[in-house]
Symmetry: C2
Subunit: 374 residues, 2 copies
């Protein structure tokens, strides 16, 4: 029986996982490179170590009954070895994590399973041949990209020129290159699987990014019924190729009535933050239930619509809750601060607004956000 949950990473996702795990009676231990991580501030024990430390994973495995993560840029292969040694349960499958954390292998796995994705090639050498002359293209580092770090959009096809730009941007290879998609909307579907193989799906969410950082989500997505069916079918099929128990986010492009997978997150995800207040079971509790062998909870929405807006740091000063009073004066508006120091464009919290329609909630969320210096 699980008593202690180990999480690689103690950032905001580890924090909200901890907040969900504690009322269910679990102890939580996280790894984090600095002490007093967002997760530790809400009661997680802490192993202070870099995310890539194998020794920290050994310690986590010793202290925890089940091991999971809040970020994919961790030693997946070492987790595979740890799992094979059988000392600790690891969920979801570290093999799936290993595949996903390499964006080229992730795409190849999806193609091999007939999941539609944007055209892509290995590397940057044969763009014109592999992707045709339909730029712009997006060059990605195969590993360790996060929140758009590790992405370069370019109209170039000359590998020499591209390499110079990549070096200047400090983007270290290997790379893959994708055709950019002229999408109508970006969607995300947060799915979960329990230990018995049962699955659940939250409502389809519209996601909006700026400089590759998610800033707003709108649930349910304002799309046609047939588009909705396409998105949920795709989410279902994609979950079918992912192994293990836990929450996954399937990020998609919608163009016309067609959907294709953009990226998979093998973990709780920013596009599911609205579920804390907006659904019967939050994505964080859902993940905790899934990895500890408990049944999944209902994903039904609590209100007709939920909008989430990230609070991004705007300067190198601690965030002093400026404007929060005014934000909380809006009805059914909820604030989650992560206990992180502020840096420009750093996610330091989020606001969720529930409302009667997506547009109404969005309007209220914008009005609330405008009260804050973000």
């Amino acid at each position: 029986m699980v008593e202690t949950i180990g999480i690689v990473g103690g950032g905001q996702l580890g924090r909200m996982l901890t907040e969900a795990a504690k009322p269910l009676g679990f102890d939580v231990v996280v790894t984090n490179k600095d002490p007093m991580s967002p997760a530790a501030q809400v009661g997680a024990r802490e192993i202070v170590a870099p995310l890539d430390s194998e020794q920290a994973i050994d310690q986590l495995a010793e202290q925890a009954d089940v091991l999971t993560w809040e970020i994919e840029h961790i030693p997946a292969h070492y987790l595979c070895v740890t799992e094979e040694e059988g000392d600790v349960e690891i969920q979801p499958s570290p093999r799936t994590l290993a595949t996903i954390q390499d964006k080229l292998r992730q795409k190849q796995m999806l193609v091999a399973n007939d999941i539609p994705v944007a055209p892509f090639i290995d590397g940057i050498d044969n763009i014109a041949y592999g992707l045709g002359n339909v730029g712009p293209y997006i060059v990605k580092t195969r590993t360790r990209g996060y929140d758009g770090r590790g992405n370069l959009v370019t109209a170039e096809t000359d590998p020499e020129v591209i390499k110079t730009t990549l070096d200047a941007a400090d983007m270290i290879g290997p790379y893959l290159t994708e055709q950019t998609v002229d999408f109508d909307k970006e969607l995300s579907v947060v799915v979960a699987r329990d230990m018995d193989g049962k699955t659940t799906m939250y409502a389809v969410t519209e996601t909006y990014h700026e400089e590759n950082i998610c800033h707003t989500t709108i649930t349910p997505a304002r799309i046609e019924q047939r588009q909705h069916v396409a998105a949920t079918d795709l989410a279902h099929d994609t979950l079918g190729v992912l192994q293990g128990a836990g929450v996954f986010a399937i990020e998609m492009f919608l163009r016309g009535d067609d959907v294709m997978v953009n990226e998979i997150a093998p973990r709780v995800h920013n596009s599911g933050h609205w579920t804390i207040e907006g659904a019967m079971t939050s994505q964080f509790e859902q993940h905790i239930r899934a990895i500890t062998g408990m049944p999944l909870g209902s994903t039904r929405m609590r209100a007709p619509a939920a909008v989430m807006i990230n609070i991004l740091g705007h300067r190198d000063e601690p965030f002093d809750r400026e404007g929060l009073d005014e934000v909380l004066a809006y009805p059914d508006t909820h604030v989650h601060l992560y206990g992180k120091s502020s840096r420009p464009a750093r996610k330091i919290g989020h606001i969720t607004v529930l409302g009667d329609t997506p547009d109404e909630a969005l309007e209220m969320a914008h009005a609330a956000r405008d009260k804050m210096p973000v």
Copy 2:
């Protein structure tokens, strides 16, 4: 501007206050007689000291920008002095706390303000004269009673006989004696006041006690409209005689269409636990908002009905989450464990079930509770 909230007491109420305060960006420090209190387990800092320690209150006052409590059996007069010294804001008013924590003075205050209460007398000496021959009577210790400790129900009127029984039960005076009320239902209304004097009220809740310990609450109360009006009017009038910002619970007896106040809790209360999932703003967030000068949130219910059942310890062993899997298989069912060691009849957690009608939610809650060894 408030950065740190100090709470006298670090039990389950302090824990849930901490859980509400953290996402709003506040630090929390509590006092608790043992280390690793329920509140500390979710990230509150801790001053290890008995509840009656004045020194601990000094320390809290030094570390916090606003001071509150989760239990009323604390040095209220010392809090009054601390407030007058002006070193720290204290909410709600410690003078109101001082009055309420003495059940005789609480009753006298209510009577002085025309709030209906059961007939009562000071002490145990003149029961027959003061209360007539309409027993049974309930003898209460004026201070420090909690969850029914400090109550004696008796048909006796002879003070000598009563005193012997009180001594045997280790109930130390002074006392007050009330006429028992042959009520139809017990009700509770959780109310709040912010710093600007604005007030809110949650839906009227039915409460059920066994051996004086609350075990079930049902919201909204299954009562007639005119009874509902009487209960909310009484809650409103009662809040009018209480001073300061924060959450208060007004516990009442309903008999026919008449309501009278049984007891006031100058703090978040067991009868408001359902608000965590069942209302737009939980009573815990409401209290945090109130005492930090923020606007109150909406008290609207998230579902037509909410039932809460306490999880009581059944043996002197740690609770191992036995049966929890089955409980969580019920839809819209939520579990909160407090991280407390188990003792017979000790509150170690609660279950909240939301549903379409009070009876449906109650049935589901009973079915869920029956899965647990409580």
